[in-house]
């Protein structure tokens, strides 16, 4: 496995938290660069509250699993690490689901199957294997927060765009997540007929596509002054590091 080839080399050095943050939120963003967890990303990003709910739940599970994997990284022998990771992620997801049912019942009903499906989000196994199993607990927890935060960010941006285009409003049903947010709905304009494409699944693909393009444009602008680097040939799918290898 070639996962985490750059990260495993520098783990003996002091942990660079700024680096972890910039990778999680931008350079190796799970949604925009690794393109992991796209199924929930596309399915529940039809409103801000849904996006925020699933994003927070994913972030919680990812942070928890990174912490636990890192704590037990010396006990997890290579031969049993994958089943152990899966067991851990499944347990944490179930815990999150129970907690959501207890304290955010309506939101849990709205997100439905996508909460249990957090187990299958490749970001979780990717970070457990590629980062948490090679780094101390604090760095691993921080990585979980940043990667989860990056995922959350993309989800919320797509949710905002889709809800705004599709319904002309923002923050509808926020009370499902925050009981005190009873009347947060912002009606920005009142569409004669709603822009259905934005709410339906194709809208999710289109918005994600535009975001990907935007990120690439920004990245190119930022790196233009530097000399163009050689592109390493090879598969660019399911990267755990930001570099294709």
């Amino acid at each position: 496995m070639n996962t985490g080839s750059t990260e495993s080399t520098n783990y003996t050095n002091s942990t660079n938290y700024a680096d972890i943050a910039s990778k999680g939120l931008w350079h190796n963003n799970p949604g925009l660069v690794q393109l992991l967890g796209l199924c929930p990303l596309l399915a529940v990003s039809n409103s801000v509250v849904n996006a925020l709910g699933l994003g927070l739940a994913t972030m919680a599970v990812l942070t928890g699993s990174n912490l636990l994997v890192s704590l037990f990284r010396h006990q997890l022998l290579p031969a049993i690490r994958l089943p152990a990771f899966v067991m851990l992620i499944a347990a944490l997801t179930t815990c999150t689901e129970l907690v959501m049912q207890a304290w955010a019942w309506e939101l849990h009903q709205a997100l439905g199957i996508f909460i249990p499906l957090i187990v299958t989000n490749c970001v979780l196994l990717g970070r457990a294997e590629g980062f948490a199993s090679k780094h101390p607990p604090l760095a691993a927890t921080f990585d979980g927060l940043m990667m989860g935060g990056g995922f959350l960010l993309v989800l919320v941006i797509i949710g905002t765009i889709r809800e705004l285009l599709g319904t002309g409003a923002l923050f509808a049903n926020m009370h499902q997540l925050l009981p005190f947010a009873t009347d947060w709905t912002l009606h920005l304009f009142n569409p004669e007929t709603p822009f259905l494409l934005a709410i339906l699944p194709p809208g999710a693909f289109l918005v994600l596509g535009f975001l990907l393009a935007l990120k690439n444009v920004i990245d190119r602008k930022l790196t233009r002054p530097a000399a163009s680097e050689d592109v390493v040939p090879g598969s660019k799918r399911v990267r755990v590091t930001e570099q294709a290898s």
Partner: protein, 220 residues
Amino acid sequence: MTQNSDTLTDTMRRHSLRLGAFAVGTALLLAVVYALTKDRIADQRLATERAALAEVFPLALHDNDLLDAAFILQPDTAGFMQTHLLGLSTARTAYAASLTGVGSGVILPLETADGYSGTIVLMIGINAEGAITGVRVVQHAETPGLGDKIDTALSPWIRSFNSRSLPNTPEVLWQVKKDGGDFDQFVGATITPRAVVAAVHNALLFFDANRERLLAGTTP
């Protein structure tokens, strides 16, 4: 050779023990969280059910606990007339309301497959006079932005059934306006409201045919 197989057995034992210990640990974690959330989740579930029932049948019209007065309606339940009017494809729950021991109404499940996509499942509350106290959509797969306006979150349309009854709305008016009836259709979506209006009408016919049994004051 002996040494090799010893090492293999040893490794396997070590691995299974570690994995087993790990499984016990995660199971413990789950057990703790489950124990901590169990009661609250049960409360939430009951509260949601009660709130959903209160939407279609006002609290002032009954003093019994509707969840205790639930009964199952099958597509071919014996003892009821013309059960086919409810359009049920599977067993669903109905609730008998009573006030001081006298039957004061009923909440019926109904289905229609005449919508634009998939089955629409509804819940209807009917009082002792045969007038509708509320209709709500329980489940649907109508087109977002068009047919999904049958949901109260998106449009108050479904409230237009409130206080309708067979005596105050003649047979011919149980249609959408486009077909010469009394109920609005949606811009761009006629099929969905048409299906719901027909289903609600059928539910009233079912109530009429089974009035005595449904209002017996005890769970049928």
